[in-house]
């Protein structure tokens, strides 16, 4: 048995699993394809239902992961191959259901950061001289970054990264300003990808989610463009991607976040004014078998209530409207939280769907129906936030294929048994955690990650016990 685990994905679930295993004394390789760890939780402003500052409860974890002696953190890295090395230890009775113990030989490609890890002091001199301005992915495009950048101030590892895709050119070198500015000489334009091979005894797949990309479909063709946006069968986007004041939940999180592009001030992108009337549309993409995805995205009712509360705290004279289908607030303290949004923060909940969003006279006209009264509703909003469905992160199918595990029709990983073996992938030694399994919130994801880590530890400890017995 190889007493080393591989955790793929370093969002809150991957970090939790890695820390549980590492704190039990085993080695962990934590692989993250982004330049920094923390996943989507790092982008959130506050978390429900406690309204804790997300960064504040997350940062101790990211720092612990970054400094843990048992965790080898590989950012900007991808697992590209995985071979099941049968019976690294002599064959023995299966300890996890469904097969014999084994190990995996994995190949990980570490993409070049072009900044040397030990040398970078995160001073930021390189960013100041970089002439490239591109949208910042971490801020969901609401703010800009340079080609050499650090995703956000609390990023772990606290190392800058040169994005070769947006840099003016490395081969041949076209600019070179950052290297000139870098006093510790941390920038290495000749850095290439590195391939790492490792043997591991268990794998936890925690690749997480992304949001349904509502396309330019707004009910009346493209606004201000002569071409036509790519159409998809899954269009239900309400002018998202077409009008800057229609945004998804993660963008609104960045707008609320104290570390966000506006410093936590809610202003709308089009004219930087404070929006007063905000409309939230739930179930965008989700619960829509005809034009989107049939499943419930599960977290949106709660985060929309949270958004309503937080908006009202930032803009006390503002008014929030929420178009909903049902309110699904199953969870400890959840129903009370939604009630609070309604009663304390005067959120108007309208049961019905929105048919159309379009701009008029500096406002966004929202047309919908109130199915409880049967009346048409028209709201002149300043900002529209769509609660887009959670979808498996890009590459989950490829990942599943590589590991020999299964996915459902949407690309979510399927566990061996939803009820009784929720974190087992069906392949011995491979476990699952996080939103890659399906839409779930932070408390659930953390519990699941600890569950997956416990399974890995059971595997390791039992193998250890067996080895001891053999020695005796």
């Amino acid at each position: 048995m190889i007493y080393r685990a591989l955790v793929i994905g370093s969002g809150i679930s991957g970090m939790q699993a890695a820390l549980d295993i590492a704190n039990s004394g085993f080695e962990v390789i934590l692989v993250e394809k982004e330049p920094s760890i923390g996943g989507h939780m790092a982008q959130l402003s506050e978390t429900f239902p406690t309204l804790d500052c997300s960064q504040c409860i997350l940062t101790p974890r990211t720092v612990e992961v970054g400094q843990h002696p048992n965790i080898r953190l590989l950012t900007l890295s991808e697992v590209v191959a995985c071979d099941y090395t049968r019976s690294v230890t002599p064959p023995s009775p299966p300890l996890t259901r469904g097969g014999e113990r084994g190990g995996f030989r994995v190949r990980i490609v570490r993409h070049p950061r072009y900044v040397v890890e030990g040398k970078c002091t995160a001073c930021g001199d390189c960013t100041k001289v970089c002439p490239v301005v591109v949208p910042n992915e971490f801020d969901r495009g609401l703010a800009a970054r340079r080609a050499i950048y650090i995703p956000h101030p609390q990023a772990v590892p606290a190392i800058y990264r040169l994005d070769s895709a947006t840099c003016l050119g490395l081969f041949p070198l076209a600019c070179g300003k950052c290297a000139e500015a870098c006093q510790p000489h941390a920038i290495d334009y000749d850095m290439g990808p590195e391939t790492i091979e490792a043997d591991v005894g268990a794998i936890i797949v925690a690749t997480g989610y992304e949001l349904y990309q509502a396309d330019g479909h707004c009910g009346w063709g493209p606004m201000g463009t002569s071409g036509h946006p790519e159409r998809s069968e899954e269009s239900a986007g309400y002018a998202y991607m077409v009008h800057p004041d229609v945004m998804d939940g993660l963008e609104f999180e960045r707008l609320l976040s104290a570390s966000g592009p506006t410093g936590g001030q809610v202003i709308r992108p089009s004219d930087r004014r404070v929006p007063k009337e905000v409309v939230f549309i739930q179930c965008v993409g989700s619960r829509n078998p005809e034009h989107g995805l049939p499943y419930c995205s599960k977290i949106c009712c709660m985060y929309t209530a949270k958004h309503a509360i937080l908006f009202k705290h930032r803009v006390p004279d503002g008014q929030v409207y929420v178009f909903y289908m049902d309110i699904r607030a199953g969870g400890k303290g959840y129903e009370e939280f939604v009630t609070r949004a309604m009663e304390e923060d005067d959120t108007v909940y309208i049961r019905g769907r929105v048919s159309k969003v379009f701009p008029r006279d500096g406002k966004l006209m929202v047309w919908g129906v109130d199915t409880l009264t049967g009346n048409k509703v028209e709201i002149a909003a300043d900002l529209v936030v769509v609660a887009a469905a959670m979808m498996p992160a890009e590459g989950s199918r490829r990942m599943a294929e590589m590991l020999g595990i299964s996915v459902d029709e949407f690309g979510f990983y399927t566990s061996m048994n939803t009820e009784m073996s929720p974190v087992e992938a069906g392949v011995p030694g491979v476990f699952l955690a996080g939103a890659g399994l399906g839409p779930q919130d932070i408390p659930e994801t953390v519990a699941q990650a600890s569950g997956a880590a416990a399974k890995v530890l059971t595997l390791f400890q039992s193998a250890k016990a067996e080895e001891m017995a053999e020695v005796e």
């Binding site: 479909h217 707004c218 009910g219 009346w220 063709g221 493209p222 606004m223 002569s226 036509h228 159409r231 269009s235 159309k356 379009f358 008029r360 006209m365």
Partner: protein
């Protein structure tokens, strides 16, 4: 290419200019619309009751005529198109109903006729680029396509274009050298037949539609439906107070085509609308033959 053609009642009466311009532009593109030998009203509404075979008799008789004429029928009126296409779809999936209607009409309709709108034929058989090649008088106007309901819905049976975000008229007016103006009311209902019983409803709806088109800079509204044309045009008529100066002419797409393709003015039929479009077209001279296709 001769295509069996069902004009319908409105195009034989109130909307003769739609019929005439439609036939003229089709002929100019080498498509001959051959009127069905025998036809009557399609019923003008698709029966929505579960057991409403009576209302299917009229459309089935037209479909039977089309079957005899070669298995295909083209329409211009969006309402006739809707009724015929939906009836065709229903009869195809419901053999019992087909048998029942056939028993009554004593005709053998087999349920396989292809019902097309001229717009579809232009898109699929002619192509926008080929159409653009034929334009001699590029329109150089801001034209707002107004789709209404019946040309697009229900999608499952009509399937002409995306019912929420249609482009077929946009593509057409661009091919004619005009700028297509998108506006949010382009698929809102015009009020349809309520214009007979409760005219104030279509007038209200129409006011919003026209105002929205104007707000987005449209100089002309274009439609494929005679009732939409009327409902958008008539409320803008000259009243006792005179004209507001904010009127927008509402034309059939075939009229715009007739102008752009350089057909004679008698095929345009512009004089039959309440808001006069003629001033818009007197100043755009036709290009010389050498200038064709060089927009």
């Amino acid at each position: 290419m001769g295509i069996p053609y069902f004009p319908g009642c409105t195009l034989s009466t109130k909307a003769r200019n739609y019929d005439r311009s439609g036939r003229a532009v089709a002929a100019a593109l080498g498509l001959e619309l051959v009127e069905l030998a025998e036809w009557q009203c399609c019923g003008a509404t698709f029966p929505l009751m579960v057991d409403d075979s009576m209302a299917l008799i009229a459309p089935t008789r037209i479909l039977y005529q089309a079957q005899s004429a070669g298995g295909r029928v083209a329409t211009l009126c969006a309402i006739c198109f809707n009724v015929l296409r939906r009836s065709q779809a229903l009869l195809k999936r419901d053999p019992q109903m087909l048998e029942r209607i056939n028993w009554f009409t004593e005709q053998e309709y087999r349920g396989e006729v292809q019902v097309s709108h001229l717009l579809e034929i232009l898109r699929d058989d002619v192509g926008w680029e080929a159409l653009a090649e034929r334009v001699v008088r590029p329109l150089r106007l801001r034209v707002a396509p107004y789709y209404g309901c019946l040309l697009l819905r229900p999608y499952e049976e009509i399937g002409l274009d995306d019912p929420e975000d249609p482009t077929i008229l946009h593509d057409l007016v661009r091919a004619l050298g005009a700028e297509a103006v998108s506006f949010p009311y382009n698929i809102e209902c015009c009020g349809s037949y309520l214009t007979i019983k409760e005219p104030e409803i279509p007038e209200t709806l129409s006011r919003d539609i026209v105002a929205s088109a104007r707000e987005h800079g449209a100089q002309v509204l274009v439609t494929a439906c005679p009732l939409c044309q009327f409902n958008l045009d008539y409320p803008q008529r000259e009243t006792e107070a005179g004209r507001t100066g904010n009127e927008i002419p509402v034309l059939y797409f075939t009229q715009l085509m007739a102008i752009a393709l350089g057909l004679p003015e008698e095929d345009w039929g512009l004089e039959e609308h309440y808001v006069d479009a003629r001033p818009l077209f007197t100043l755009t001279p036709a290009l010389s033959p050498e200038g064709r296709g060089s927009r």
